[in-house]
């Protein structure tokens, strides 16, 4: 299968899943008890306002009609009207998503770097003390929920030791650079304010660490067991017999095939990062989509909830495509299959 065919197929698949998902959330939201029009209008609004809003939001129409109306709007790029923020959901998402994405991207960077370093050390010194230390800390790291780790890191490193800021994006006194991408890091670089950039990074280190820890430790273990397994393979023995230096064997022969399983799992990790960002952002008051998401969820803002699920689903799907392409690049066997050899 060619790469373009593959991506086309996956895109079709994503659209299929997203339509299914939107039907699921849509139906659930309307079948369950509670009157969305009443909730949109507020507890004390008079009945005629509720009825007006019901007609306006087309909640008086049958559910399949509501759905097709909503779907046709989505294809025009309109995700509907949020009754909480009183504006289009698309605008809300564009406002809150970039902040989350920069946090998630930094966490993913930490995660990949940590996985490679810890996994390589554990694999190289397998069954010796560095391996044992990493294994024990991996168990602990995997078992601590991200929001718990977030609170513990905040308590120890911000409150007690004072090494990092406790919450927020920027220290008081610093001005946010003009909005271009919505990501404060990129915007500060575009504006040429390097001190602001460093300040944001400083604020991001603890949340990003809390976010990536579980996946990082899991992947490091997978990389380690891959290396231990490959060490006994004949081709490593042959490389040794040929007199290739130990260091070269480690990186060129042992490392590359061993990271494939760890990279494969990173597709699933994207789910953990996206979901945990919701919780870690609350701990650190990060102005990302969790602030928006939790507000709309607690207020049963249906359009916003459906839109949020779809956007997260799409990001997740794209991350999985990226991982699949990366695995195909790393694993020559998959490339050969593509060519049909």
């Amino acid at each position: 299968m060619k790469l373009s065919t593959y991506i086309a197929k996956r895109t079709f698949y994503i659209i299929f899943s997203m339509v299914g998902l939107s039907i699921l959330v849509f139906v659930l939201a309307r079948v369950l008890p509670g009157d969305p029009a009443r909730m949109a209008a507020g507890e004390r609004a008079p009945q005629w306002v509720v009825e007006q809003l019901r007609t306006q939001l087309r909640l008086d129409k049958p559910i399949y009609e509501q759905y097709f109306y909503w779907l046709s709007n989505v294809f025009h790029g309109d995700l509907g009207y949020s009754v909480v923020t009183k504006r289009s959901v698309s605008i809300d998402i564009l406002e809150y998503l970039p902040a989350s994405m920069e946090l998630i991207i930094l966490a993913a960077t930490f995660q990949i770097a940590g996985t490679l370093i810890l996994g390589a050390i554990a694999g190289q010194f397998s069954f010796k003390w560095p391996d044992n230390v990493i294994r024990i800390s991996a168990y602990v790291g995997i078992s601590i929920p991200a929001f718990v780790l977030g609170i513990i890191l905040q308590l120890v490193f911000s409150w007690w030791l004072g090494l990092f800021p406790t919450q927020g994006v920027l220290s008081p006194g610093l001005e946010r650079p003009p909005l271009v991408t919505g990501m404060t890091t990129l915007d500060s670089l575009i504006a040429g304010k390097f001190d602001v950039f460093l300040n944001v990074l400083w604020h991001m280190i603890l949340p990003a660490t809390a976010l990536c820890m579980g996946c990082m430790m899991q992947d490091a273990r997978i990389l380690r067991s891959g290396m231990v397994e490959n060490k006994d393979k004949d081709y490593i023995l042959m490389a040794k017999a040929q007199g290739i230096p130990e260091r070269r064997i480690m990186f060129a022969h042992l490392f590359k095939p061993s990271i494939i399983p760890a990279v494969t799992v990173m597709g699933l990790d994207a789910a953990a990062l996206l979901a945990n960002a919701f919780l870690v952002e609350i701990v650190y008051y990060w102005p990302g989509f969790s602030r928006f998401g939790i507000t709309v969820m607690l207020n049963k803002d249906l359009n916003a909830i459906v839109a949020l699920v779809l956007v997260i689903g799409i990001i997740y799907a794209v991350a999985n495509i990226v991982v699949d392409v990366a695995v195909a690049y790393l694993d020559p066997r998959i490339r050969l299959l593509e060519k049909g050899e």
Partner: protein, 296 residues
């Protein structure tokens, strides 16, 4: 009819086999630690009214004279803003967490396994496609996000949080069972039963299912930890159990309002969540090793 057994393909359980399994399991001290934590937390949960030093503090109890006390002999984990003993509430929290795991897995495993078995048995047919595509829809979004959304459209409560988690958890069992079942579909012992005219029901449940049990059991054990994690995350956000319920996630959320000065209110329940998850993770790994070595 034990056709597979006669061909020596399927192992027949015996006392000797159990003994050997236990030997494999107990070889790793980490597995034993996991077992101890898991059993310990269950015992604490069941005996909470007897074990907890102040059982009354689990609910609406106020004693403002004793509020915000740090760790002491009377209150090893300190007291919270209402003067309630954090240790007692944490022990009761185990009850809620484990109940959640038991209810969710009880609701999720049977339908997940059965749909996976059916899809695997009818591999390649439209039944397979239909079941697996529906399962894919649920898997298309991170579990926590979907659970949050479902919990959001329901009224926030512990019961609804369980329903929300259950609704998005079954496809993982469908997938797991499907993978094993569809690979076993063309094994000789399955073909042999087919040839002698065994019913589809017999083949699916008596021939294929027993061979999936190892991986299902491993996943169930690991999932106890993940369901507890998900439940506490829902409570932490405010979409699960509501205060004054001594749910661990709710306690962490409530307690974190008093950081950093009164850190013990949130940190002890937070550590308790991590320890339960750790215990079931270690136990799950032990069980996996037990079955994986067998397969070799």
């Amino acid at each position: 009819m034990r056709i597979g057994g006669e061909l020596g393909i399927r192992r027949i359980s015996s006392r000797f086999d159990l003994k050997r399994k236990w030997h494999r399991f107990s070889r790793s001290p980490l597995s034993i630690l996991g077992l101890v934590i898991a059993v310990g937390s269950i015992v604490l949960a069941v005996g909470a009214p007897y074990v907890a030093p102040y059982p009354k503090h689990a609910g609406l109890f106020t004693n403002l004279f004793e509020a915000f006390q740090p760790s002491s002999a009377l209150h090893p984990f300190g007291t919270d803003e209402m003067g309630r003993d954090v240790l007692s509430r944490t022990i009761f929290g185990f009850q809620y967490s484990l109940t959640m795991a038991a209810v969710v897995l009880g609701l999720v495993v049977p339908p997940g396994v059965i749909t996976g078995l059916i899809a695997g048995y009818y591999r390649g047919s439209w039944i397979d496609t239909a079941i697996m595509r529906i399962a894919d829809v649920f898997i298309a979004v991170p579990p926590l996000v979907l659970a949050l959304c479902i919990a959001a459209v329901l009224t926030p409560s512990l019961f609804n949080a369980m329903m929300a988690v259950s609704l998005m958890w079954w496809p993982w069992y469908t997938r797991l069972t499907y993978n094993t079942a569809s690979s076993l579909r063309n094994e000789y012992f399955v073909q042999a039963s087919e040839v002698i005219g065994a019913s589809s029901f017999h083949i699916a449940f008596k021939e294929i299912l027993p061979n999936c049990l190892g991986s299902i059991l491993t996943k169930v054990t690991l999932d106890v930890g993940w369901v507890i994690l998900l439940g506490s995350a829902l409570s932490f956000v405010g979409l699960g159990a509501q205060p004054p319920t001594p749910d661990l996630g709710t306690m962490v959320a409530e307690g974190s309002k008093n950081l950093p000065q009164f850190w013990w209110i949130s940190i002890f329940p937070a550590v308790a969540i991590s320890i339960i998850i750790l215990g079931f993770n270690l136990l799950g790994d032990g069980i996996r090793d037990m079955f994986v070595e067998e397969a070799k």
